[in-house]
Symmetry: C2
Subunit: 331 residues, 2 copies
């Protein structure tokens, strides 16, 4: 029997847990023979959900965890107090090398804090970063950081640039990825205190730095790695989602506005659907916490079964490409 | 003869000056009998452009200004050094009450600095704010601040909330406008240092404060007044523009992808065009600098003649509604 990739899943985290988590896990198992899954959470609830499905029982284990960290809990406190939570137990599995990856849709701040305390950081990295992909004209760009470190320092942003470059080169396959510093003007001297101090540091850093990038240019795909502090990143990420939905709502409205438009809409349906996929976050799976000494992947808080499945499948690639080892070597 | 509203225009500011400025001015003159325009800038260049058009010569004056402040100049230095610039001279006209409004597409930072130094602030306002409208499902929301004060203090944000509320109530006609603090979570305790300190102040302020608003919810129109520091505001504003363009590009691509889609696109053309207008910044005219003791309006840096015309026409409403007087009374 070949070596399986062991992946743990937080069965209790996210808006649609445990139903969507369990379904996504089963779908991933049935999709790939290369993985074995560890569902971490309340044993009875998980077992009850699992009864609905057919799957290879040899490749799925339940790891009991009696507590759940909720979305609105203070991250550090939650991680320290809830030792029996699915999140803490899942992170411990990574730490103990019992699994190669841990996927969670739960509290982002807690996952970052827990990742830092339990799994630990790669030497040379001050803060792990949450780095999702966003759609552009060219394909995708990496938005780093969107995590919970809202008051960032210039040195962190330089580390983000390096980690993001390694990610885009190894996972997405872009040679010498272009790094842009998100800013309110293209000129070198523009920005707030943070970006002004970061600019000269990025110029000296071993990355392909293009300079500042204005938000207007983000969707063009000019920069493969978009560097910013987590407050700005989080806002951009969520605005992309919100504006995408609104935009499609407007298109729908335009289509439904009269008989002629309805007919046009019918003819366009297939092409528009294909296009909509590019704005659909469920297509992109999860985002890794870069900079941890082990693989921890955040899936969207409202992840459905499809996102969960895609995120688990993504872990196979992360694992094969040894993304964290590459960051370790290059920092 | 009735009293005309005197409006000055920076004929030299912006990417398309002086051509677009002069054409927009003439279009505005021909559209409204209520205004008289003062074109500030290089006399010969303006006169040469004016030769192309027919208009009421009694309602247009050229105010010569030999210097131009460029987009990439350091704002404060430029304002102090270039006393003969079109921007400084235009602002001086407002200060001297020779005109009721000054419109410029030039350097935003310089306009804010010049507005503060030359026209002066309303008592009780620490920083004037640039407050453009952005499209939402419900109509429009005011994004305040998008200006050049990138390292804001909590007290400024409270002033922005008050000024924004007065604007939305008086200019857009929304009763008790809802104020939201742009943040990375809905919970009261979320955010960076600035938003965490601002939250309790806004709770106590005499505005209709809904609490934090996540970026995902901005396009829903839940909040009429969106409060943030200028770095975040500027990024959101420009990202809206960029993403709108990309989105329309994607729709176009979908339409052109095959014969059936092309036919569908033809049938949908009219409805889609109507929809596109909502994302077209040229429809919204300019954005006032709220908090100055006189009316100064910023038009988009790449404003074309249509934007210039719309911004001038907007000034009639600003003037009639006495927006600055209302801010003065209520701060």
């Amino acid at each position: 029997m070949k070596d399986l990739i062991n992946i743990a899943l937080d069965a209790m985290g996210g808006d649609n847990a445990p139903e969507a988590m369990v379904q996504g896990a089963v779908d991933a198992l049935n999709y790939s023979d290369d993985i074995k899954l560890f569902l971490v959470g309340k044993e009875q609830e998980i077992a009850k959900e699992l009864e609905k499905y057919t799957y290879d029982k040899n490749r799925l284990e339940i790891v009991n965890a009696d507590e759940v960290i909720e979305t609105d809990e203070a991250p550090v406190v939650a991680i320290r107090k809830k030792k029996e939570s699915s999140m803490v137990k899942g992170l411990q599995l990574v730490k103990d090398k019992k699994v190669e990856a841990f996927v969670s849709s739960g509290n982002t701040g807690a996952l970052l804090a827990g990742g830092t305390f339990i799994v630990g950081r790669i030497k040379g990295i001050d803060r792990p970063a949450l780095a999702p992909l966003i759609p552009t004209k060219k394909g995708v760009s990496l938005l780093i950081d969107c995590g919970a470190n809202v008051d960032a320092k210039p040195a962190y942003l330089v580390q983000f640039a390096k980690m993001g470059s390694i990610y885009m080169e190894n996972i997405i396959g872009i040679e010498k990825p272009v790094v842009g510093l998100i800013n309110i003007g293209e000129e070198d001297s523009k920005g707030n205190e943070l970006t002004k101090e970061t600019f000269p540091l990025l110029k000296e850093a071993p990355v392909n730095f293009m300079g500042n990038i204005e938000a207007r240019e983000i969707p063009s795909g000019k920069a493969d790695v978009l560097v910013c502090d987590a407050f700005v990143g989080n806002i951009l990420l969520k605005y992309t989602e919100g504006l995408g939905l609104t935009f499609f709502g407007f298109v729908k409205e335009a289509i439904m506005s009269n008989l002629q438009s309805k007919l046009g809409g019918m003819l366009l349906k297939k092409s528009l659907k294909k296009m909509a996929k590019r704005f659909d976050y469920t297509e992109y799976g999860g985002a890794p916490l870069l900079g941890l000494d082990g693989l921890v992947v955040k899936a969207h808080g409202s992840a459905n079964a499809k996102v969960v499945k895609n995120t688990i499948i993504q872990c196979i690639k992360f694992s094969n490409m040894k993304i964290n080892e590459k960051i370790k070597e290059n920092i």
